[in-house]
Symmetry: C4
Subunit: 240 residues, 4 copies
């Protein structure tokens, strides 16, 4: 049995990093799969990521049922997480975000191409999932497993799926990876937005993207970013 | 009789949230209708929202007359509030803002369409009210009831009206709702501005907008945003 | 004789406001005319506005000579100030700024039109002064009275002149006015930049601009902004 | 022998300034040549610039070998620094940055022209170096001396080279100069990006650029910026 406390502490840090780097705000969330029971995952109760503490973390079955009858108010959209874990066995961490820089690419025909090396991890060209295609008019929220599974299918073998008028979902082999791709995606979007005003756009090549996606998610160079982001988010005392 | 103090404390929090989320700055204001006397409303004296305290709150008749001969310096544009309450019986809170992201849509022919789910509350396509249409050359300030009523007519059955070269006015069924739509409107404007550089824009559908507008303004999911915004604005100790 | 200390305290506050509102950064400066001797003005020694304190204030003759042989290092570009006071008797305060939002309008053929009511004070269409027109290749810095006077001529009867590739100079009847127009000019520039992406631009009318320029610079509504900006800049204890 | 401690303290300050002015973030770095041994340079171990302290500074041979067998984890891309010192004897300080405002100019055909006087130091038209031209598909990181030398050749007689999809490298005759050009380059990029939306662009003339590049890097006017940036970065106590 893996000791779960260091992982849950990292989950709190991930919440704070995503908030501090403007990836999430009042809404958005991050979860991690239970390494001792892959049919369960950890996710905060309904609280904005910047405010999440260890005591806010709940455990859920993949179908979104709180474990042990925990009666706290859960996120309405927790189904994004459970359905993604269900369909993607090697995904161990999930983020859902409304990042402003990404949203224009969810409501237009412009693909969100990877253009900067640090965002190569996002993959070649994330698809846009439109909840209306199968579910018609909704509040756009993903509020049940049917909707969650429809979204999660678009995430098979991918790190990123865009959600029309709503945001994106991201996957990682570990928490550090999903945080990294979630921080870099909006930056890539912002840079691409500016570049599209000019001519002669040169995105990353397929080979470059593949080399970035193949990097070891535990490569020590990535710890530099985690240490930096955590410190900026006021979590220096929660680092190893 | 409703105890008015919790409401006035929330009015102070609303001032601070709007300032901290960059919806208002030196100028702009937020008011709430008196639940014990619908012909009166509460609004700060002339002070920037970030600095407003409980002791700054004044009470006004709908025509803008301070109650009980309160002689403090009131906002010049308080008529926006009184006229809106007069014409819209189910409106209980009003915001006036100069948010920069919204202003381009008040001085051009580009409609400010709802494109992100969290801004659906704004409604399908806010009109632009131009003070010059009826009042000719002015400082653009709304400084009497005639001007206030002309503006307020554009707010009947609407959450938002844009004001040419000036900003916007927003209504809510309660304070939380008017703050939410006022925070989300500039974000929607910013995202739409970027999306308009690309092709194939897909705004929210009429049905999606209606479903967002129909959400219960007291839905518990909205408290998450209020808690977060208030905490960021330094008002954690003023939450329930 | 006017007591000069309250004015110099306000000059320090003006430095801090302009820095905190991103109108000036490492460079840029603000001066005030000596009310007891209109042939002299007060300006900090060479220090970034955010760091300026009462003890940094120097007094200068209009030609840029420090009074009383003060040997501290002065700003290279103080001639902008002296020449403007020399040519414009009713100007009592001057700002020089490199604000980023304004710079694009100094290097292109796009006029910086007033489009938001709070920037009407800037006047109808500020000219762009190009140092190269009379002085050829330079570092673009205004480093003597010849250059200062050439610039100052463009400021006669105006609140704003743009400087090609460099920034702007602004005038006020008092410190509050020059700070206000300097804060509002970049905001107007930013909003106009976005609006120019859309069609059907509607700037302020000539009559609206004139009404804003005619407002009493001591109108009590303006104190609200000064109080707010000063408080945000950490100068609450320097207010009256 | 020059006392090295004041220089290393300035190197720490340079790290903090670049982080605080958003030139570097989790990644990016700054080095200084050893004045007592021009075949060596100082650079932090692998840590984000905002967190760098005196004790993090390592010394390297030009080929990237740590001096005295220092076994701490070095930056993967230190070869950018060594190769630049090797090929450019009058360069004494080097920065590598991923600044967002600059990146669009590295992935399109739009040249990054100098348009504001304070960025004239960057030179007339920085070339874009594409690692793929000689090295094919890579992670885009500069991880050996072959790649470093290929990049450094583009820096001969230049202050700036852009790196496709990655960022830029900058050189200075001293730390203050390389920090200054690195802070100003992104600002110039941002202003140019906006200006390119308008017509009639007027960049700095060749003569103006030459005059700015010829300015004494120790000119006392430049200390004003260093003092300001250092103070903002929390390093006031590390100033002389």
């Amino acid at each position: 049995m893996v000791d779960i406390e260091p992982l849950l502490r990292d989950l709190v840090v991930a919440n704070r990093i995503l908030a501090n780097e403007n990836v999430v705000d009042a809404y958005g969330h991050v979860s991690v799969r239970n390494p001792n029971n892959p049919d369960r995952y950890y996710l905060s109760c309904s609280r904005s990521p910047e405010l999440v503490q260890r005591s806010d973390i709940m455990e859920f079955e993949l179908d979104g049922t709180p474990v042990d009858g925990d009666s706290r108010n859960p996120y309405l959209e927790r189904f994004i997480h459970g359905a993604t874990y269900e369909l993607n066995p090697d995904v161990n961490a999930v983020v859902h975000s409304h990042a402003e820089e990404v949203l224009p690419f969810t409501i237009t025909s412009q693909p969100l191409l990877p253009v900067i090396h640090s965002a190569g991890l996002m993959g070649p060209k994330p698809p846009v999932w439109d909840i209306a295609d199968r579910f018609g008019d909704t509040t756009l929220l993903v509020v049940n497993m049917d909707q969650g599974r429809d979204l999660a299918e678009a995430l098979v073998s991918r790190r990123i799926v865009l959600m029309r008028g709503h945001g994106f979902a991201a996957t990682g082999r570990n928490l550090s990876e999903v945080v990294r791709v979630s921080v870099m995606l909006p930056r890539n979007a912002k840079i691409l937005t500016t570049a599209l005003q000019f001519g002669g756009l040169k995105p990353l090549s397929e080979g470059e993207v593949a080399l970035r996606q193949d990097m070891d998610p535990d490569h020590k160079a990535f710890y530099r970013a985690w240490e930096y982001w955590a410190t900026r988010a006021g979590c220096a005392d929660m680092l190893d």
